[in-house]
Symmetry: C2
């Protein structure tokens, strides 16, 4: 169904307001009335665009990357590292990403089993790994699809433990450590001497992008 620009704008406003509610209260604590009072939108508008709270939660999961401005640069391992560190700092403050990740982790609690939010990242990571493979930065025994799955898995678990332990305050350092121990099994020794693992790089890139709200990718 093609949407009018106005309908698309309303739909996005609903998703943004819902993200704020889901991020704070989780799926089970969220009420549609919290979304209307936060956004000034009507219950009718919500039900015009979404069939249920479940449907809205899936939309927030799927839109988790929409507010991101992923780091630029040549495709490959360095860019993949920079993306993971950028995500670590966004997970500390980007409401849409935090809500989407929270819902993806807790989806079992509301009876959903949707791997799309993870597979989006698997695809994105696989692209960068494919570029790294093409320039000879990966060890010959590496299977790109497997490493993409492993990285998204490790990332998901790392952010989960960091969230529970420190409310994600230590997530950037944990991601640096993840790479420190994973790179010897993935990248050539030559590539490893070139790669930078600095959480501050992602933070600087991110600060420069503030005020720029175009969608990521």
């Amino acid at each position: 169904m093609a949407e009018s620009p106005r309908a698309a704008k309303t739909r996005e406003a609903i998703i943004q307001a819902a993200a704020g509610v889901f991020e704070q209260h989780g799926y089970n604590g969220a009420r549609l009335s919290m979304i209307t009072s936060r956004s000034g939108l009507t219950m009718g508008a919500i039900y015009f665009h979404f069939t249920s709270k479940d449907d809205l939660a899936r939309a927030v999961m799927a839109a988790q990357a929409d507010d991101l401005v992923l780091p630029d640069g040549e495709r490959g391992l360095q860019r993949l590292i920079d993306i993971t560190l950028y995500l670590a700092s966004e997970l500390q403050r980007n409401v849409l990403l935090r809500a989407g990740v929270r819902l993806a982790i807790e989806q079992g609690s509301f009876g959903v089993r949707d791997s799309t939010p993870y597979l989006q990242w698997v695809d994105r990571f696989r692209d960068e790994l494919g570029a790294a493979e093409a320039v000879g930065d990966l060890l010959p025994e590496v299977v790109v699809a497997d490493v993409a799955q492993l990285l998204v898995s490790s990332y998901s678990g790392t952010q989960l433990l960091s969230e529970i332990a420190t409310d994600r305050a230590d997530l950037p350092e944990r991601i640096v450590r993840m790479w420190t121990y994973l790179l010897p099994g993935i990248a050539t020794p030559e590539a490893r001497t070139r790669l930078r693992l600095e959480p501050s790089v992602a933070d600087r890139a991110d600060d420069a992008d503030r005020g720029n709200d175009q969608p990521g990718r």
Copy 2:
């Protein structure tokens, strides 16, 4: 408070019945009445031992390893690998473990932030890594406490993605791949030539243990 043997037995029966309900319905879908009808225990007995559903969920999380019989053998990397592969097969069928892990993952959905269930595994993994370090199996730059955290993180995320994608059918292979890519950053080349990464080893050990229900550790 010291418990009588009978009270301890009742408490364990409640936890086992609750695990079955939480594993199937999650925290939010679980009702205490499901636990009484499953166990033949009374609501009074549940409230004698636990103050609330929340309290009971924490107890199931904490008891997640109680039905396990972890692989024997010399302490160190091989044993750690065997434990992770054993856990992968138990996660396919052990109700108490499945319930405890489900609750630990979804705990945000019911307002709990309890890192104890993860830290139990971090401690266990650190013990084996410490033994590996003592016999010179780890690379000199390895920080045992960091690798223990990383392994539990990667494991948690891997089981989460495997659960969503295949109901954990592919978890053993995913754990083998996790080790394949992580070992070069952790273990010496000499140690790596000795280590076996075979999901079937854990399965065989596990089959031999069937019928033996003594608590793990």
